[in-house]
């Protein structure tokens, strides 16, 4: 949270937008803070792009208001908003070269030629494209186009930079490198970034805060750690990383404890913060992450809660091994991940084993 402050930069107040019968954005409320790296994360078609276009002014809300830097945007056209957008297709002007693309927005501000040239070079250095000034647009690779699009937007010194899946067109290696660079760039310039992505890993590694969107709604808005360890619903939990689910029953809720019957894990007493969304006693889902489950290799190893299961599949990743384990009382095979530390062997399919866990690693979901 490098330069993030508590003061609001973008306020989205009960904003809705429909296209015909499709409610692309359905009553979204969110506050994005000054200087933060904010991500909109959700599956394809959940309304991320539409929300971004509402903020940049290319769509107008049917209901609700958007306030940027304290100013209501209802009547403000895209060319007068303090935002710039990096398009998913990058939208590099094909008839202009790199320099002309980057300088495009500056030219009308009455900036002198020397000043423009200086700023363009500064921006190209920032995005690691110095010396590419005269390169024509068609001769750029995907990654270079992406950098030109970034430079072209950042040179405008926007209050908010909007990025629509900027990395999805790049191959895996370049994407991972750009994730780090983009995060570093945001720290350097200190501008509020709003990034749209359908890649949960990308959102987790880059963001200060993440809004998870499903069907035009924000399902949860939280920091990456909170989202991963305290997802509010089963749907969020399975969208962010891997989560094992056990059908259970919430027996009793008090101010200090929760009493749950968690299938084969038996009767468990938990702390109130292990239930991120308040629920009434009754049928619930109990979730646990693969890395919170441990294979107990020898009889000496003990755990707070222990169950036995049969290995049905193993996937060896070098540093990690992922096991699928069939446990009585759980419909789907449970995924267990184990770090391959020195001397630890890899179990074979068909072996019976004990699985251990701590009760504080369970969470209760709707």
């Amino acid at each position: 949270m490098a330069k993030s402050t508590e003061s609001p930069m973008v306020e989205i107040n009960a904003v809705s937008k429909s296209f015909g019968d499709v409610r692309a954005v359905d009553g979204v409320d969110a506050v994005i803070r000054e200087g933060e790296f904010f991500s909109l994360l959700g599956p394809s078609g959940c309304g991320k792009t539409t929300l971004l276009r509402l903020i940049s002014g290319f769509e107008h809300p049917d209901d609700g208001h958007i306030v940027i830097a304290g100013q209501n945007m209802d009547q403000v056209e895209p060319n007068h908003r303090p935002t710039n957008l990096v398009f998913q297709s990058y939208a590099i002007f094909p008839h202009l070269n790199v320099e002309e693309n980057v300088a495009y927005g500056l030219k009308r501000n009455g900036v002198s030629k020397d000043e423009i040239a200086e700023q363009v070079n500064e921006m190209l250095t920032l995005v690691d494209l110095s010396g590419y000034n005269k390169r024509p647009a068609y001769a750029l690779s995907g990654g270079q186009r992406q950098r030109v699009a970034l430079a072209r937007a950042l040179i405008m010194k926007p209050k908010v930079l909007l990025l629509d899946e900027p990395l999805s067109a790049l191959d895996r290696k370049l994407r991972e490198q750009m994730q780090i660079e983009l995060r570093g760039l945001q720290r350097t310039v200190g501008i509020t970034f709003i990034l749209v992505t359908h890649d949960q890993e990308e959102a987790l590694t880059m963001s200060d805060r993440i809004a998870v969107m499903f069907d035009g709604n924000i399902a949860q808005l939280a920091t990456p750690q909170e989202l991963y360890s305290r997802p509010k619903t089963r749907r969020i939990a399975s969208f962010i990383g891997v989560m094992n689910f056990v059908e259970g029953t919430l027996r009793k809720v008090t101010a200090k404890t929760l009493e749950v019957e968690a299938g084969p894990f038996g009767k468990v007493t938990m702390a109130p913060d292990q239930m991120p969304a308040p629920l009434e006693p009754g049928a619930v889902t109990v979730g646990i992450r693969p890395e919170m489950l441990t294979v107990l290799f020898s009889a000496k190893e003990k755990a707070e809660i222990e169950v036995t299961g049969v290995i049905t599949n193993t996937a060896y990743f070098g540093d990690m091994t992922y096991y699928s384990v069939q446990i009585d009382g759980i419909d789907e095979d449970v995924t267990v991940s184990m770090r391959n530390t020195a001397g630890r062997r890899v179990l074979a399919v068909g072996e019976e084993t004990r699985i251990g866990l701590g009760r504080e690693s369970l969470i209760i979901l709707s």
């Binding site: 398009f87 297709s89 990058y90 094909p94 495009y104 927005g105 995907g142 072209r152 899946e165």
Partner: protein
């Protein structure tokens, strides 16, 4: 099965002979040293071409034709730009029927267009001159301009326009700095093709021309005098070459416009994962 390709080859061969053999006669007799259009050939001469230069009515009709073709090409392209831009970018009630109406002259017999325009203009008391021909030619060139320009506008990535607005340009600047340069090959192609269509259009010009004859009307009027035939052949040859050059250039720019647009669209396809 074995017979089929052969029949087909013969058919194509005959088709090409009927289509192009008469055209080939143009250069042959244009350079033939005889006033009679008949074989055997007598000898090579450039007299027919040189003779054209002294025909004053011919020169006036060439001037008329050039004026008509240039003005018709410019008008039809300008109107085509407006119609195509509107159709590619905006939705308005009755868009489909309106566009179909604009394309209608493509399939309407020219004689009907010519006669009906003539009747209306005469009823309105308008005197026939080059401008009435221009009117008729704009009408028949428009569908071609629209067909070319609509694909140029449709091929343009809409995000480019939005990117320009996003970077602070207003709609006017965006049109002149981004949209126009990107559809320019389409515009040039439309100008060239409209010019070519107008230059050798006969039926409408014949009805609407009044005393300002255009070149095709002049050629037709000369056909009554057998002694002028070789000169007409020479003229026809010049027009043939000119049309070929213009159409080739038009096609070149049309392809270029498609290429310019496609560099963007292929990238979009790559990017369209989410």
């Amino acid at each position: 099965m074995r017979g089929a390709p052969r029949t087909f080859t013969i058919f194509v061969g005959l088709y090409l002979v009927f289509l192009y053999a008469p055209v080939l006669l143009l250069p042959i007799f244009a350079f033939n040293d005889s006033a009679i259009i008949a074989f055997p050939l007598r000898g090579f001469t450039l007299d027919w071409f040189i003779g054209l230069a002294s025909e004053t009515t011919l020169i006036v009709s060439v001037q008329n034709s050039l004026l008509v073709a240039i003005v018709a090409a410019v008008l039809s392209t300008c109107l085509g730009v407006l119609a195509s831009r509107a159709s590619a970018r905006f939705d308005y009630p009755g868009k489909k029927p309106i566009m179909s109406f604009l394309m209608l002259p493509l399939v309407l017999p020219e004689i009907i267009v010519g006669v009906s325009l003539l009747i209306v203009l005469v009823q309105l008391g308008v005197s026939l001159n080059v401008w009435t021909v221009i009117l008729g030619h704009v009408l028949i060139c428009m569908p071609f301009s629209i067909a070319i320009l609509l694909s140029a506008f449709n091929n343009m990535d809409r995000n480019l326009e939005e990117a320009s607005l996003d970077l602070g340009a207003n709609r006017r600047e965006t049109f002149f700095k981004i949209i126009l340069p990107l559809v320019m090959p389409g515009i040039i192609s439309s100008l060239l093709i409209s010019f070519t269509i107008s230059l050798d259009e006969f039926i409408i010009a014949f009805f609407l021309t009044g005393t300002d004859t255009t070149l095709p009307v002049y050629i037709w009027s000369q056909l009554r005098f057998p002694s002028k035939l070789p000169g007409v052949m020479a003229l026809g040859f010049i027009m043939l070459i000119l049309s070929l050059i213009l159409l080739t250039a038009g096609e070149y720019f049309r392809k270029k416009s498609a290429r310019l647009a496609s560099t963007e669209t292929t990238l979009n396809k790559d990017a369209d994962h989410g």
